[in-house]
Symmetry: C2
Subunit: 393 residues, 2 copies
C-alpha cells in the first residue's frame, strides 16, 4: 500500500469539509441546560423589557417641568403623594414603575424630605433617570441569531423574556474506534512486551466532548481488515467516525484501504507534521477520520481535522484559540511542504521547543503548553523570534 | 447607609483574596472524569513507558554492526530468523519489541526480501529506530504536578501508565442568593409593573459551573434584613456565597450591612465600572460577594471577583482569557479612578463600543463579544486605537 499523493494540509481540510453537510436535527432544551449549545432558530423578543417605565435611580418621580429653576442653593418644593401631577412627587426605588404624569426621577442625593414636602435641588430634563418601555429589549427585536453559541449572559437574556425552552442543534455523535493488536484495554491486565495501554481513544473522546460532541468509544479492534470493516459498519449510526491507528503504509495498516472500500477515501497522506499518515474519507455521507496511532500525530489530527469537522457538523462557530506570544529559546526547524505543529513549553515569556521527542512520545504533549504552528512554506523559526503559541486545551 | 471609601479595584480583589484560604479537601476520581479538574498530588510514574525496547519503524531488527558498508548500491544480506544474532534479522512492526541481540531497526523501504534472505541497503548506527525503555516516561519521573489543570492529553499520559483513579481537589460549592422584592421566579407567572424575572442567579450559576465550581441557587429573598440574614446563615455550608442585588446605598439595600453584622465587610464600593456598588466580605471564614443587581454590573463583578475567588478556593490556575486585538470604531470614555469594562461588538477587525447602554441593560452584554478593560489611571481610548478585547465566554 502507498500513500496517495501527499496533500497540502489546508487543501486536505477544505476538501474534506466540503464533502459532508452539517446536521439538521435540533432539540428543544430548557435554557438552563444550554450553556455552550448552538441555537437553531432566531429568537424574537415576545415582550418589551422593561415592560413598564422604570426608575433608573432611587429618588422621587417628578414632572421635569416642575424642577425648572431648581439648583443646589435654590430648591423647588414638591408635595409627597401616591401619584404624580403638577407640584407632586412620588418616592421610587431603582426599578420601580414611574407613574403616569411623571417624566423624570430626581436622585435621592439631590433631595431633602421635610414631612410631606420634598426639597428638590436639581433641575431635570424630561426622561432623566427614566428607563423607557423596551429600553433593554424591544418586542419584535431579534435578540439571538440561529447559529450563535450560547453564553450564560445570552441565557440570562432569554430568561428576562420569560423563555423557558429553546431549540438547539443536536450535538454530533462521534464513534471512536481504536485499532491495533498491540493495544490493551485500560483496567484489564498489564501490557506484555510489544503491548501498550489504549490511550488515543480515551484522549479523542475527551477532546470531542470538550469541543461540543457526544462520543461512543468502541472496543479495541485488532489489525484485521474484516474486523475493521465490521467495526466501521456498526458505527455508521454515528455522525462521524474517528479510527485511531493503522493509517500508515506498513503491513498492518489496513484502515485507509478499508475506508476506501466502503466509501470514498479522499485523502491519505497529509503535509502535516507530525501526522503525515492521516487519512480522510466519506462513508454513507459521514465523515471518517483515520487518525495516526502515534499519539502526538494523533492529537495534531484531532486539532486540525476532527475539531473542524465537528464544528461543521454541529454548526459550532469557529472560536478563537487561547494564545500567547513568546520568544523562542531555541531554533525550530520544520520541513518545507509540511504544516508543522511544534510543541513548546512556556517559561517566563519564553517558548522552549520540546523538539527532540518524536511523534510516539505522548509525554511530550503533556509537557507542552502549546503548539507553535509553522506554515508549509516556512522553514522554521529562529532562536529569539517572537512567535504565537496556541495553548493546548 | 453609605459606601465605605471606594476602593481601587485591584486592591479590593487582593484584600479579598488574602482573607480566605483555598479548600483542602480532595476526591479520588476515575481519570476519564477528570478533564478540567485540578490534580491534588504529584503523579510519579510507577513504570517505564515503553516498558520494553520498541521498534520506531516497520522493518527488520538487526545488529547495527552487520550493516557496516551497506549502501543503496551495495546491500548486505542477512538471514530472516525469529531472533537476532550475528548475520540475522527479524521482521518488526512499529511498536514491536526489538529482541535482545538487535540494536537497530532498518526501515522496510531500505530492504528487499528474497525468501529467507533480506537485502539491506543502508548502514545503520547503533540504536537507530529503536525506542529505548523509558524513552517516553521514566519510572520515578514526576509526570504531573499538584495544582495542574488536567487536559485530555494529560489524562492519556495517566492512562499510558495504567493509572485508573487520581486525587483531585473538590470543586468549590457556591451558594447563590438572588435578592429583591421586584424579582419573579422563572416559570411561575408574568411579572407585573415594577417586577422582572430573576436572571442574575441563573447567569451566575452558569458562569460558576463553566469556571469549575458547583452551584446551589436558592429561592429569591425579598428586601428584608432578617430574611437576607436567614438566607446567608443557611448557605454557610457552601464554600462561597454570592448574593445578587441590594448592594447599593438605597433604602432597600440591606445586603452589605447584613454581611457586616454576620462577619467582616471588607469592601463596599469599588472603583470598577459598571459595578461600583459591589461589596466583599468574609463570614465564618467563607468569602461572600455582594454582586450588584444591575446585570451588567453583576457580570463585571462575576468576572472580576467571583472568578478569582473560585480559582483561589479550587486551586484552579489562572487561565489565559480568549482575546483578540481590534481597532476602536469610536472613542471610549472612562472615568479616572475606575477600572472600566467597556462592552464592544466585533465586526471585521473593528471593536464597536456599545456605550450608550447603562448598567441595567442586560441585552447590551448579550450583544457584546467582549470587554475592553481600561485601567483606572487612563481616561479612555481614542477612535482608531488598537485595543485588546477580552472575549466574553
Amino acid at each position: 500500500m502507498m500513500f496517495k499523493e501527499r496533500m497540502n494540509a489546508d487543501e486536505a481540510k477544505e476538501l474534506f469539509l466540503r464533502a459532508f453537510p452539517p446536521l439538521s436535527d435540533t432539540k428543544l432544551l430548557p435554557i438552563e441546560d444550554c450553556d455552550g449549545r448552538i441555537i437553531a432558530e432566531d429568537i424574537i423578543a415576545n415582550i418589551d423589557v422593561p415592560h413598564y417605565r422604570r426608575a433608573a435611580m432611587d429618588g422621587f418621580a417628578v414632572r421635569a417641568s416642575d424642577t425648572l429653576g431648581a439648583g443646589s442653593n435654590s430648591p423647588v418644593v414638591l408635595k409627597l403623594r401616591q401619584a404624580v401631577g403638577k407640584g407632586m412627587c412620588l418616592r421610587v426605588h431603582t426599578g420601580s414603575p414611574v407613574p403616569d404624569g411623571a417624566d423624570a426621577v430626581v436622585m435621592l442625593e439631590d433631595t431633602v424630605l421635610h414631612g410631606g414636602d420634598v426639597e428638590i435641588f436639581a433641575q431635570l430634563p424630561p426622561f432623566k433617570n427614566v428607563g423607557e418601555i423596551g429600553e433593554d429589549i424591544q418586542k419584535g427585536e431579534i435578540i439571538l441569531k440561529k447559529g450563535q453559541k450560547l453564553r450564560p449572559c445570552d441565557i440570562a437574556v432569554l430568561a428576562s423574556l420569560g423563555v423557558g425552552n429553546i431549540r438547539v442543534f443536536r450535538k454530533p455523535l462521534v464513534a471512536i474506534i481504536p485499532t491495533g493488536e498491540e493495544l490493551v484495554p485500560r483496567g484489564t491486565r498489564e501490557p506484555e512486551e510489544g503491548e501498550v495501554y489504549e490511550t488515543n481513544g480515551l484522549m479523542t473522546a475527551l477532546y470531542i466532548r470538550k469541543w461540543g460532541g457526544n462520543t461512543r468509544l468502541t472496543d479495541i479492534v485488532t489489525d484485521d481488515p474484516e474486523k475493521i470493516k465490521d467495526a466501521i459498519m456498526s458505527a455508521l449510526d454515528a455522525d462521524m467516525i474517528i479510527i485511531s491507528g493503522g493509517t500508515s503504509v506498513g503491513k498492518r495498516d489496513y484502515v485507509p484501504a478499508v475506508v476506501g472500500s466502503l466509501g470514498n477515501l479522499l485523502v491519505h497522506g497529509v503535509g502535516i507534521s507530525p501526522g503525515k499518515p492521516a487519512a480522510l474519507g466519506i462513508i454513507n455521507g459521514k465523515p471518517v477520520i483515520c487518525m495516526p496511532g502515534y499519539p502526538v500525530a494523533g492529537i495534531v489530527a484531532l486539532y486540525f481535522f476532527a475539531r473542524a469537522a465537528l464544528r461543521k457538523l454541529g454548526h459550532i462557530p469557529d472560536e478563537q484559540d487561547r494564545k500567547v506570544r513568546a520568544v523562542l529559546s531555541e531554533k525550530i526547524v520544520s520541513r518545507i511542504g509540511y504544516k508543522t505543529f511544534a510543541r513548546v513549553k512556556l517559561e517566563k515569556g519564553r517558548a522552549i521547543p520540546l523538539a527532540t521527542s518524536g511523534a510516539g512520545i505522548l509525554s511530550s504533549v503533556s509537557k507542552a503548553d502549546g503548539f507553535v504552528i509553522i506554515p508549509p512554506n516556512v522553514e522554521g523559526y529562529d532562536k529569539g523570534e517572537e512567535v504565537e503559541v496556541v495553548l493546548i486545551e
